[in-house]
């Protein structure tokens, strides 16, 4: 256990003395993963709603694809995005590899199927009668969708938590497309790998603690939001 005690002491020292720009790294993580979650929700909720409520040919296949996408290996996503954005790749002219937008692109691809699949499952569980009744009372399709999504909000909260948790903890893809560049694309996970490789277990352990705390915090916030929404409804 000595190894943990030593690492913890070193980590706290590195944090308090400011030898490592911890908050810059945390902020970069939050900005990239936050942006990626936003885009994933923007695209994934409508897609999931469509998959979960409409009946059409190939729906089962698409749901299976979305579910497969939940287990999409991030390293494979990283590789394909990196090759596409590379100077020799089809989108090389954009000069995007090893920048933050490249990380956001990879993270959206990783989170999108998760958000879509979880949303589809959540809205699929809303009783059909709710939607039919809404329509019979004269609700438009938009109203019907909003009503269904409101009924399925617990699932949507799970979609946000699952998507965010997955991409902020992911390291393979962000390393490949971000490059762990100090002050621009260095995020918590890539910094943890780097410090471990350098034998600096202290800062690595401390950053892991911050990462865990952050994921916990997001889940707490979502749970609280969910709880107050329930109370609002009952009250």
């Amino acid at each position: 256990m000595q190894i943990f005690a030593d690492a913890l002491r070193d980590g706290i020292a590195a944090f308090s003395q400011g030898t490592i720009d911890v908050w810059g790294i945390v902020w970069t993580s939050l900005q990239t993963s936050g942006t990626a979650v936003f885009f994933s929700l923007f695209l994934g909720i409508p897609a999931g709603f469509f998959l979960g409520t409409r009946r059409f040919i190939g729906r089962r296949l698409l749901i299976t694809i979305a579910n497969t996408g939940m287990g999409l290996p991030p390293v494979a996503v990283g590789l394909i995005v990196a090759m596409t954005l590379s100077r020799r790749g089809p989108l090389g002219d954009l000069d995007l590899l090893y920048t933050r937008p490249a990380m956001v692109i990879a993270q959206v691809i990783i989170a999108l199927p998760i958000v879509a699949a979880v949303t589809a499952a959540a809205v699929g569980a809303v009783p059909r009668e709710v939607r039919l009744q809404a329509r019979s009372l004269g609700a438009s399709r938009i109203h019907e969708a909003i009503l269904t999504l409101a009924e399925a909000r617990l699932g949507l909260v799970a979609a946000v938590a699952a998507g965010f948790g997955q991409i902020i903890s992911e390291v393979g893809a962000v390393t490949m497309v971000g490059g762990n560049l100090e002050g621009s694309t260095r995020v918590m996970t890539t910094a943890i790998v780097q410090f471990t490789r350098m034998g600096k277990y202290g800062p690595a352990l401390a950053l892991s603690g911050v990462l865990l705390g952050l994921i916990f915090l997001v889940n707490v916030l979502l749970a609280v939001g969910q709880h107050s929404a329930d109370r609002f409804e009952r009250g």
Binding site: R87, G179, E182, S184, R197
Partner: protein, 294 residues
């Protein structure tokens, strides 16, 4: 009446349960001696056929160069009783693995740190193995004029002019330490938009330099083994200040001290040195490592 008719059913059930239990316990008894006789046989078989593990901690740049693909099989052919597992990390972590006794033997390239490691008692001794050299690579055409500079110090000043990005390993690796020394010798504190820090291995850093069309310092071996995938050319080489010495250190009180000793003896022997000197000749037309064990 009812008691009489039910009792036999109960007895039959009980009997069959007992019978089943008996069969299982017999089977267990029967298998017990088998297991007992198997165990010593297995142990004999292990020591005769299955080699013992040597954990070799080395650097990513050495791994990326491909040297181990030739060196390890040659060692295992000479010593079939050992199997080498290479853990490729930064020099910093390799030394840390040695301090934690997670590795049996180290093959790294940061001489001053290696000597400290031995002086602190973590390693029994350190021997020179071979050297390779560093090269400056950059965009075709050398926009900052590093190659034309009069000496290495002038090259570092040219890099710091910021005409193109410079990608630093920034990971306390042997290569990063060499870069720091070169900047220091030229009296430059590298900082600014042109100075990018990857914190990663040589392969990744070369790829970033290629994408950004910037400069970086690389060991020749990693650059040559990756050059097909890079849009980079060697812009400066051959200066005395660009040599890179490798050393081998067996870790004190490691799990496999005999294996570590055998590995060190072999890589510094004529046989091991010949394998090192021959590596790369076929593939790149020139050796990548120059053996110099005493």
């Amino acid at each position: 009446m009812t008691d009489r008719t039910r009792l036999p059913v109960f007895r039959v059930l009980l009997a069959s349960v007992l019978a089943l239990a008996l069969v299982f316990s017999l089977a267990a008894c029967a298998s017990q001696p088998d297991a007992a006789t198997d165990a010593p046989e297995g142990e004999v078989g292990d020591s005769a056929t299955e080699p013992t593990r040597i954990i070799l901690a080395s650097t990513t740049s050495t791994q990326d160069s491909g040297l181990f693909d030739d060196l390890i099989p040659a060692f295992e052919a000479a010593y079939p009783e050992y199997a080498v597992e290479v853990i490729a990390v930064g020099t910093g972590e390799a030394l840390e693995m040695g301090r934690n006794k997670d590795a049996d033997v180290l093959l790294v390239h940061a001489k001053a740190d290696e000597e400290t490691f031995v002086a602190e008692g973590y390693g029994a001794e350190r021997r020179d193995v071979c050297y390779n050299d560093f090269v400056f690579v950059g965009a075709e055409g050398d926009p900052a004029g590093i190659g034309a500079a009069a000496d290495l110090n002038a090259s570092m000043t040219a890099i710091a002019s910021g005409k193109a990005p410079y990608v630093s390993r920034g990971d306390d690796s042997g290569t990063h330490k060499k870069e720091k020394k070169l900047f220091e010798a030229a009296g430059i504190q590298p900082a600014g938009d042109w100075y990018l820090v990857s914190g990663q291995g040589m392969g990744e850093t070369l790829k970033i330099a290629s994408e950004k069309q910037g400069y970086t310092l690389s060991d020749r071996a990693t650059y040559l083994s990756m050059r097909e995938a890079l849009d980079l050319a060697i812009v400066r080489e051959g200066d005395a200040g660009l040599l890179n010495q490798y050393g081998v250190i067996p870790v004190t009180d490691a799990r496999n001290p005999d294996g570590a000793q055998a590995f060190m003896d072999w890589v510094t022997s004529a046989e091991g040195q010949a394998v090192i000197g021959a590596y790369g000749v076929e593939k790149f037309g020139a050796p990548l490592f120059f053996p110099n064990a005493e």
